[in-house]
Amino acid sequence: MPEMTYLQAISDGLRQEMRRDERVFVIGEDVGVYGGAFKVTVGFLEEFGPWRVIDAPLSEIAIAGSATGAALMGLRPVAELQFADFVSCAWDHLVTVAAKQYYRAGTPVPLVLRLPSGGGFSGGPFHSQSPESSFTHVPGLKVVCPATPRDAKGLLATAVEDPNPVLYFEHKHLYRRIKADVPEGRYTVPFGKARVHRAGDDVTLVTWGAMVYTAAEAADELRGEGISVEILDLRTLQPWDKQAVLESVAKTSKLLILHEDTRTSGFGAEIAAQVAEEAFENLDAPIKRVAAPDTPIPFSPPLEKAFIPQVADVASALRELVAY
């Protein structure tokens, strides 16, 4: 099994989808000649030609909108926005048109929107956001946040197969930092099935995306203190694997939710509410959240570090929970 970075796995998965199904095409800014701002589509133009690897003008509305139109005509667009932050420009289109078309008109919109998200490298307020939670509030959209190379490839294949608009958030900080074995052939990873990143007994830690690795480091620290943490990587937020969370909480009785997005109305709030509604009797401590504060993401390294949840923040929240 070849070892691939998270970025290589996305690229490999996308190339396989395009080879498998000629309806799949790529559209975005600088995806052709340049190979994408992060080089996910390097070599695609040469292999698939200019009408399946389409360099679009600087027009997020036209990218999301025309991808929707092409999907309605039976193609399988995989559109790239250069940074997830720019999805705000396409918000109206995704929320107003793509999300509601099937419910209103009965016409599926099999669209994948790739959204490089997340901070950790001084991208500043407009190149670092994690806007996935906002879209979980929009019925009709699916939201995917892979954390591992294997999932990045398998979830992309599932996203391309899915007959609905799928927002695929790929975390930029994982692109080249995370490397793992990835199956060579095509495979799919189902939506709505959490992955146990690490089994444990004392406390459940639910997270996704790059925070999976922050969680793992914190759990390493606590292992030395005799505390065993179960880490659940949700993989997808819409749909999300509530059952897996409830089962883990039934075992550990304590729940910490961790996300890189800001705290208020972040997806952690939804998880906390559902667990409180359905598993109150199983809890031995109040549910805790570790999330970014309710501010824009700042640029300068010490400010950004204070914004993004760090290993020490997670470790201290875990200790508090265990001591409760």
Binding site: R52, I61, G65, Y102, Y103, R104, P108
Partner: protein
Amino acid sequence: MAIARDTEPLGSSLEIGQLGLGRAELLGMYRNMMITRGIEERGHILYKQGKIPGSFYTGRGNEAASVGVATAMRPEDGGTPLHRDMGVHVTRGVEAWRILAQYMGRADGPARGRDGNVHLALIEQNLISMVSHLPAMMPVAVGLGLAFRIRGEPRVSVCWYGDGAAARGDAHEAMNFAGVRRLPVVFVCDNNQYAYSTPPQFEYACANLADRAAGYGFEGIVVDGTDILAVYEQAQRAIEKAREGGGPTLIECVTFRMEGHAVHDDAFYVPSELFQEWAKRDPIGRFGLWLSEHAQLGEAEQGEIENEVKALLGEAQRRAEASPMPDPAELEQGVYAESTEAPGDTDA
């Protein structure tokens, strides 16, 4: 300074014959205009009777523009008609009773009660159901053209919008992208001169909206949107040009919104002289007169068509009123599609 080309009105039946329209086609267009207006007049009555919930929008004054363009399309062409374009659905064969059922929120409306008004379209006709954020449909229409281009199909997408929608950024992005890639898209701007209460001088500062086409690298044409034959000629030319790889065209159909923005709006802000002036150019009246002068449409035949349309609408209303209300138990169904195959798919 205007840059778009103004069209000439069409006169003789010889010219019309050269466009490929025989007498049967001409009478069919006339009939579709009358059905279009008839559906909306029925809607007015049903609204006042309390049988249509919410609001109700019509395209009175726009029948020539909508029917004229739709007649020039081929079945395999597609597009995104808006709320003044009922004539497109009528021309492409949506049954009147289903439109009335849609107005009334019934289960047999194309939106099955999940959306109302003219927020309908049949995907098997390659039309996409509009949203209220009107220019949001423009990039979708461009996407239809993109799909046709990617697959190398000789098909054309028609993108409708209005003088109000033209002010939004979506319009710019859609036309720019279509121009850059020379996609097979025909932009049809129904300029009915009022966006709700806002007149042209507060929506745009150029002489014609069609002038903007030059900025996107394609041709802009201003056509009298109350002259169905002029509209048809320009639409056919633009659609066939796009089909042959000639890229987009912007056709500005100048019409007048003969009613308020919706039924609740009495349009007090429109000077009454404007209504009087444009009433003389009523698209159906004009075409009827032309047909009597050039296509031997006599009183008897005119009466037959009127009776036929009336009977069709009476039956449509009866059937629509017999259609059940949607079942609230189905409220949460169909938010997400289950099938991996979508309508409109071709072989992979």
